[in-house]
Amino acid sequence: MTTTPAVEAETATSEFVLEGRNLVKEFAGRSGLFSRKGSRVRAVDGVTVGLRQGRTLGLVGESGSGKSTVGRLLLRLLDVTDGEVLLNGDDITRERHGDLRRARRAMQMVFQDPYSSLNPTMRVGELVGEPIAYHRRPRGSALQDEINRTLTAVGLSPDHARRFPDELSGGQRQRVAIARALGPSPDVLVCDEAVSALDISIQSQILNLLLRLQEEFGLTILFVSHDLSVVRHVSHDVAVMYLGQVVEQGPADRVVDHPAHPYTAALLSAVPEAKPAAERGRQKILLRGDPPSPSAPPRGCPFASRCPAAFEPCADIRPEHTTVEGGGTVACHLQTKGPVLAGQPLPIGFLTTQTK
């Protein structure tokens, strides 16, 4: 692997375990009877995110926002169109074969659906043992010990090793999936909607498991989810995606309690609350319509077409990220052109009084 001196100099001071810089991912558009030839869909459009040691970054967004693609780019499951992926300060963007295999040991993934992510013809012991054997090659009985230790770590017993996935409940299957990811002793765990398919009572059990594993093994976690109340619970930091871009990021409590981007505010206000009426947030911001198509993205701010606070520059000029009081950054013209807010979070009621 070759690294430029500049990157090497930075290695020592890199604050991130895993980092994506200006990530871009384009997919070939559908080449059907009716679509133009060579049309490209920009699923991820200039995303910069970093995972800090032992912390969880929650990546939220709606379907089509590109959040899962970012997770896959960071893990090198997909090749970037542009940008860089850095693991512990090393550029792994273009690594192949053996080098990539070493990198992969350090970053593992847990998928949404434990019914389709586990091979039904393999026993739990084989499922958990496979990634351990591949990445760490333990000898003799060491593999069995590792399997037992991993199963215990995720709250299963060594007896489960002989079972098949269809003999397990949904919660137990997801524990097996987590055990598979944990086996190679990764630094980073990417959880893509890892609790979304589970029942409520099982969901909180798995969230507790993730919190415990993080503490025990110092895991760094990227938690990709559409569910804000879950993201809020497990994340130290949050990045909000819309149409392939991160529109806001920062410490979880600042982003959730004092959003600075109108989209974040709308997203948060749309989340229903399981509380008696008197304790629920009063105002809902109802967005009209759907996000624009990623194959014909808007020139300016991706949210401009639905934003209740949009003004003159929003449709044409793409906003830059600026820092927000309380931590993090936001890409919104209200913060720069004008400037209306200049680094302040959105005041309560700003969006609801602006319109109507």
């Binding site: 709606e62 379907s63 409940s169 949904g170 919660g171 137990q172 029942d199 409520i200 009572s201 099982i202 969901q203 909180s204 059990q205 969230l207 507790n208 919190l211 415990r212 559409h226 804000l228 109340s229 879950v230 809020r232 619970h233 497990v234 994340s235 130290h236 979880a252 409590d253 709308a266 997203l267 206000s269 749309a270 989340v271 229903p272 609350e273 399981a274 509380k275 008696p276 009426a277 008197a278 304790e279 629920r280 009063r282 105002q283 809902k284 911001i285 109802l286 967005l287 009209r288 319509g289 759907d290 639905r306 209740p308 609801t352 319109t355 109507k356």
Partner: protein, 345 residues
């Protein structure tokens, strides 16, 4: 974009006579050969204009109950053990195929979780709605199309004339669900059954669809049964909630008292386990164990194995009856001794 204060505009009066009655309804299903009890002693009544939530985890029987309400559980794999279901003056449980077909659509409409599978991919959405209208009212083609477009406008589809000519795959998830709602309400049913209608949708789309359903309830005065696993959606949308567990209703309550002070340990444990009701990054209070498999048979309380308040020899001996304390009801022998926490701070 608009803002709405919850609760929305003034609701229509709730009728006095029950529109839908489920009495001592028990149903066995044979999903793989052998019959097992899936629903036991369901009692439920819904009045016109009322919004009732049915909440439960997987295997609780909530979707089977929903299908039973419109007679859509296949007779081949089901056996009615006891009870009956009546909608208006039609007995669903005794209805012939023809009678049920005329009830569906005209008296009761249904929307499902996945709008793509509920629509025919080979027909334009406008034609699908028009066909349903023609079938139930026998109006002309042109009139049916006019009414279909009117329904699209009612469900707030912008550009309704043009979108009527679209195929389902050309529409977004939110628009498809709007088509399904337009289809379900096209003959102005008195009851709309919505089975996880927003589960497959994004949260901002969910808010739009729930807002729409609320408005339609107010404008058309229909009753809604909302089936959901999501207690937050139930909290914001329903007047009354029924909690199901292992094929039984374990608690019934008006919405606010339920969230302030649930009476069944299962309800309380569910509310307590929600991440949104607990401080971030701390270990969550959890409900241990998993939902029981379909057709679970135990001598006493079906929740006893997971209950934090179980008293052996008392809870797990004989079947537990539903204790009725109108407007609430609960299936727990210890309910009066327990003060269970809810979702209120």
């Amino acid at each position: 974009m608009t803002t709405t204060a919850t609760p929305g505009i003034e609701a229509p009066p709730i009728g006095r006579q029950p529109l839908l009655r489920v009495e001592d309804f028990s149903l066995d299903l044979a999903p793989s050969g052998e019959f097992v009890p899936v629903l036991s002693d369901i009692n439920l009544s819904v009045r016109s204009g009322e919004v009732v939530g049915l909440v439960g985890e997987s295997g609780s029987g909530k979707s089977t109950l929903a299908l039973s309400l419109i007679g859509l559980v296949p007779k081949k794999i089901s056996k009615l053990r006891s009870g009956r279901i009546t909608l208006g003056d039609t007995e669903i449980t005794a209805g012939s195929r023809r009678a049920l077909q005329s009830v569906r659509g005209s008296k009761v409409g249904m929307i499902f979780q996945e709008p793509m599978t509920a629509l025919d991919p080979a027909y334009r959405v406008g034609d699908q709605v028009a066909e349903a209208i023609r079938r139930h009212t026998g109006v002309s083609r042109a009139e049916a199309r006019r009414q279909a477009i009117e329904n699209f406008k009612l469900v707030e589809m912008s550009d309704a004339e043009r979108r009527a000519d679209a195929y389902p795959h050309e529409l977004s998830g939110g628009l498809r669900q709007r088509v399904c709602i337009a289809l379900a309400i096209s003959c102005r049913p008195q009851l709309l059954i919505a089975d996880e209608p927003t589960t497959a949708l994004d949260v901002t789309t969910q808010a739009q669809i729930l807002d729409l359903l609320r408005r339609l309830r107010d404008e058309l005065g229909m009753a809604i049964i909302l089936i959901s696993h999501d207690l937050a959606v139930i909290a914001e949308f329903c007047d009354r909630v029924m909690v199901m567990y292992a094929g039984q209703i374990v608690e019934e309550s008006p919405i606010d008292p339920f969230f302030i002070q649930p009476r069944h340990p299962y309800s309380s444990a569910l509310l307590q386990s929600l991440p949104e009701n607990q401080p971030p990054l701390q270990t969550l209070t959890v409900l241990p164990g998993s939902p029981p498999p379909l057709g679970l048979q135990v001598p006493g309380c079906r929740f006893a194995a997971r209950c934090a308040h179980v008293q052996h020899g008392r809870c797990d001996v004989t079947p537990i009856d539903l204790t009725s304390r109108p407007p609430r009801a609960f299936r727990c022998v210890r309910a009066n001794e327990l003060s269970l926490p809810g979702a209120a701070r």
